[in-house]
């Protein structure tokens, strides 16, 4: 058995955070090597290094025992490393054959030789055992699963010796997953080396020969699958105490249900029933892309309801847009502060007071619509101090602030609104620890004031540290509910992967 791909002591830092710490890994020819780890454990960074997107700070990549330079995407390709990305990178309006052959179409003088292009694409589809997919169909017309297979075909055209799959089954049904596995086994028989990243342990046992576990940027376990069990792998994935920096809550949960969802349905969200009491922080977890954001956005009035009722303080709501949700007493801190949360080229002041100006007549503006500047500055200063926003002045332009400070501004704009429900969609993603703690404290204060709080998070320790109750979502629905003090990280991980 030849080892084709070896990573030796790879380290990668982003500013002060260490994303990968001396990662070593060996993958062998004709084997499927499973790579698992929690959200944020470093899987994506590792893959991007192999793809030539990031350069490692330290360490070597070896192919067939020789050290190679993977400093660019082109080099990675020429070395025979192929990657099937999780997010589809296809051109939905172009045909199947155009997508598969893009950038390497056979030429006839300056023109594309359509005949040979089609023939080459057909040959690859045949190899994969999916020759039934019509070559001239625009890719956008295919099912997600078929698109995933086209993505693989596109990768195979480059004749790689190593193929990396990044969570390829995330969007697939059971039978589609089986079809994908047949293709993977086929590739294995052709003696390719396969790295298979997955959230689902049972998949690793079904298709993998070997498995490595990443945790906090380190490989903590690597062995053949026959020598291990799901429980053991989960222990390796978790394997540490929860950070102690989650502030302790003093308040208690009330009896009154503030937010009630009754059989709420939306695009990508199956019937969901959930009730949140005053003073309660309910966490929403599960593998990324399991419908957590869709749920949050539905409550925030961004996604139209396809059925069911949302009640706030017992009153049914009719959410035709975010302004209806705000009027109903729902505040939403979106996931991406740059594209959704903030007016980047405007001041902290303009950012913090915008929801008040749009929905509350008369408080910060007079009857003619003139903004009461002094009051506005006072209002902003108050919430700046409460969230410890480090900005020279309330007139500082938001884009000049650090990520953590920006996120605090995105939170601050909702504190003055005195909403009944606060929905935080991954509010601490990619920010520094100090800012995290400040935001945690504000979340706790809101709950202590009797608000109903929803905390969507991709990071399980955060859910366990902050929430009184945690629901786990998978494929667009709630699959499990825990009281936080009774739950463990192992249970959270298993509840998502064991339900199918």
């Amino acid at each position: 058995m030849n080892e084709t791909l070896e990573l030796s002591q790879i380290t990668k830092r982003f500013d002060s955070t260490v994303a990968l710490n001396r990662v070593s890994l060996k993958a062998y020819e004709g084997e499927v090597h499973g790579l698992i780890g929690q959200n944020g454990s470093g899987k994506s960074t590792l893959m991007k290094i192999l793809a030539g997107v990031y350069a490692p700070d330290e360490g070597k990549v070896l192919i067939n025992g020789r050290e190679v330079d993977v400093s660019s995407v082109e080099r990675a390709e020429s070395l025979g490393i192929g990657i099937v990305f999780q997010e589809l990178s296809l051109f939905s309006l172009l045909s199947v054959s155009a997508n598969i052959m893009i950038g390497r179409e056979p030429r006839n003088g300056p023109l594309i030789d359509r005949k040979r292009t089609g023939a080459a694409a057909a040959a690859v589809l045949g190899e994969l055992g999916i020759g039934h997919i019509p070559l001239d169909e625009p890719v956008g017309q295919l099912t997600t699963a078929e698109q995933q297979l086209i993505e693989i075909a596109k990768c195979l055209v480059k004749r790689p010796s190593v193929i990396i799959f990044d969570e390829p089954t995330a969007a697939l049904t059971v039978s589609e997953t089986q079809a994908l596995f047949r293709v993977v086994r086929n590739l294995k028989k052709q003696n390719l080396t396969i790295l298979f990243i997955s959230h689902h342990l049972e998949e690793i046992f079904e298709i993998g020969d070997r498995v490595s576990v990443l945790r906090d940027g380190e490989v903590v376990y690597s062995d053949t699958v026959d020598n291990t069990s799901e429980t053991e792998l989960v222990q390796h994935m978790v394997g540490r105490k929860i950070d102690q920096f989650y502030p302790v809550r003093t308040g208690v949960t009330g009896d009154k249900a503030v937010l009630e969802l009754e059989q709420v349905r939306a695009d990508g969200l199956q019937s969901t029933t959930l009730s949140i009491k005053a003073g309660e922080i309910v966490g929403i977890g599960g593998p990324i892309g399991s419908g957590q954001s869709r749920l949050a956005e539905t409550i925030a009035g961004i996604r139209p309801l396809k059925g069911g009722t949302i009640r706030v303080n017992g009153k049914p709501t009719r959410l035709r847009g975010p302004s209806d949700a705000i009027a109903a007493g729902i505040a939403y801190v979106p996931e991406d502060r740059r594209t959704e949360g903030l007016l980047l080229n405007l001041s902290v002041r303009a950012n913090v007071t915008l929801p008040m100006l749009t929905t509350r007549d008369g408080e910060l503006a007079d009857v003619f619509g003139f903004i009461r500047r002094a009051q506005e500055v006072r209002h902003t200063s108050h919430y700046r101090d409460r969230l410890k926003i480090k900005a020279g002045s309330v007139n500082a332009v938001v884009s000049t602030l650090s990520g953590g400070t920006q996120q605090k501004v995105a939170v601050a704009r909702w504190l003055g609104m005195d909403a009944s429900v606060y929905v935080f969609n991954d509010p601490t993603k990619g920010i520094d620890v100090g800012s995290k703690v400040d935001i945690y404290e504000v979340i706790n204060q809101l709950a202590d004031e009797g608000k109903a709080v929803i905390l969507v998070s991709s990071y399980n320790p955060e859910l366990l540290g902050m929430c009184s109750r945690i629901v786990v979502m998978f494929k667009g629905r709630i699959v499990k509910e825990f009281a936080a003090d009774a739950a463990t990280e192992e249970q959270l991980l298993l509840s998502a992967s064991a339900t199918e």
Partner: protein, 333 residues
């Protein structure tokens, strides 16, 4: 407790003062390069031509800039929302000929003026609806209404100019106080009013918010369609007023009188620090931009530069202004 809130108030007051200082400083800095360029041009032309720095000539420059300045007010709002209004020039023609036809057919002047303004408001409304509800890009929506409005003014006039404008009306277009023609004073009034709205009211804040990040503005509860439609209606109304003033000024209404005026108003906003990506720009800066262009074309004309070369020069000024502005912005970020 009282002491503490007093301290907070004092802090807020201090910050407010700093803010005001910083704001005015920044607005000066933002438009300063253009303002400096304007002053330099004025000095140069004053030296180069004995006719330039005379009250008659200033009267001409201000008369010249009035219509563009009024359009620029509307265009500034549109561009701050990250949009563009190409229909302005055609609205000048359409509202001009409609109000002229009404005047010459014996209707009172105020009726004719209101009808002309209503046409501008209507085109703005259509632009806004196309952009918000039909979700057309502003460029395409206003390109289409530009063509429709131009066609409409040719249809109602049969392509002929409308003459015999009532004297009381055309006098208003030609007379003035000192070096200030009435039509320029009208432009100043509108510029001041819309500057105040933009800088000090919720409406102005919402205009910047949409241009800075439409999605974030929507998530903050802003009614995006209402705001955008209002902004395009402002632009339409400003264009109509421009068209009516132009009719008074030239004593004739021509269906194609406003051709390419929209390009001048866009250039004025951009020279004055506006960004086509939205969220930036001021009325003051845009006015300086408009004045710079009018001064340049007047001065070069006095120096005997051919109109062909004037066009070339104007294009170069736009390029230079935007390039310098980009450069300055990159450095400050």
């Amino acid at each position: 407790m009282a002491e503490e809130s007093g301290k907070v108030n004092a802090n807020a007051q201090r910050e407010e003062d700093q803010g005001r200082l910083w704001r005015s400083l920044r607005s000066v800095l933002n438009s300063s390069l253009v303002a400096v360029a304007l002053i330099a041009l004025v000095i140069y032309f004053s030296i180069a031509s004995p006719y330039f720095f005379t009250s008659t000539n200033w009267y001409h420059i201000l008369q010249d800039v009035a219509v563009v300045a009024i359009l620029t007010v509307g265009q500034a709002y549109v561009i701050i929302t990250a949009g563009i209004d190409l229909s302005q020039g055609s609205v000048i023609g359409l509202s001009g000929v409609v109000s002229a036809l009404l005047m010459t057919s014996g209707h009172p002047i105020w009726v004719a003026v209101i009808a002309g303004i209503a046409i501008g408001a209507l085109v703005g409304l259509i632009n806004g609806v196309l952009i918000t509800f039909a979700k057309l890009p502003p460029f395409i929506a206003t390109l289409a209404t530009m063509s429709v409005a131009e066609g409409a003014s040719l249809i109602v006039t049969g392509g002929e100019p409308v003459f015999n404008i009532p004297a009381s009306f055309s006098n208003f277009g030609q007379l003035g106080i000192g070096i200030f023609p009435y039509i320029a004073l009208v432009a100043v009034v509108f510029a001041v009013v819309f500057h105040v709205i933009l800088a000090y009211t919720r409406f102005g804040r919402f205009t910047y918010a949409i241009g800075s990040n439409k999605l974030s503005a929507r998530l903050s509860g802003l009614n995006i369609p209402r705001q955008l439609i209002s902004v395009y209606m402002i632009s339409g109304i400003m264009s109509a007023i421009g068209g009516i003033l132009m009719t008074a000024w030239v004593n004739t209404a021509m269906p194609t009188a406003g051709s390419n005026y929209e390009l001048n108003s866009i250039a004025a906003v951009v020279i004055g620090g506006g960004s086509l990506f939205g969220g930036e720009g001021t009325i003051l800066g845009s006015m300086i931009g408009a004045l710079l262009m009018a001064t340049l074309s007047n001065g070069t004309q006095l120096l005997g530069v051919s109109t062909y070369w004037q066009e070339v020069l104007l294009g170069l000024v736009v390029l230079l202004a935007v390039y310098v502005d980009n450069f300055r912005r990159r450095k400050s970020v």
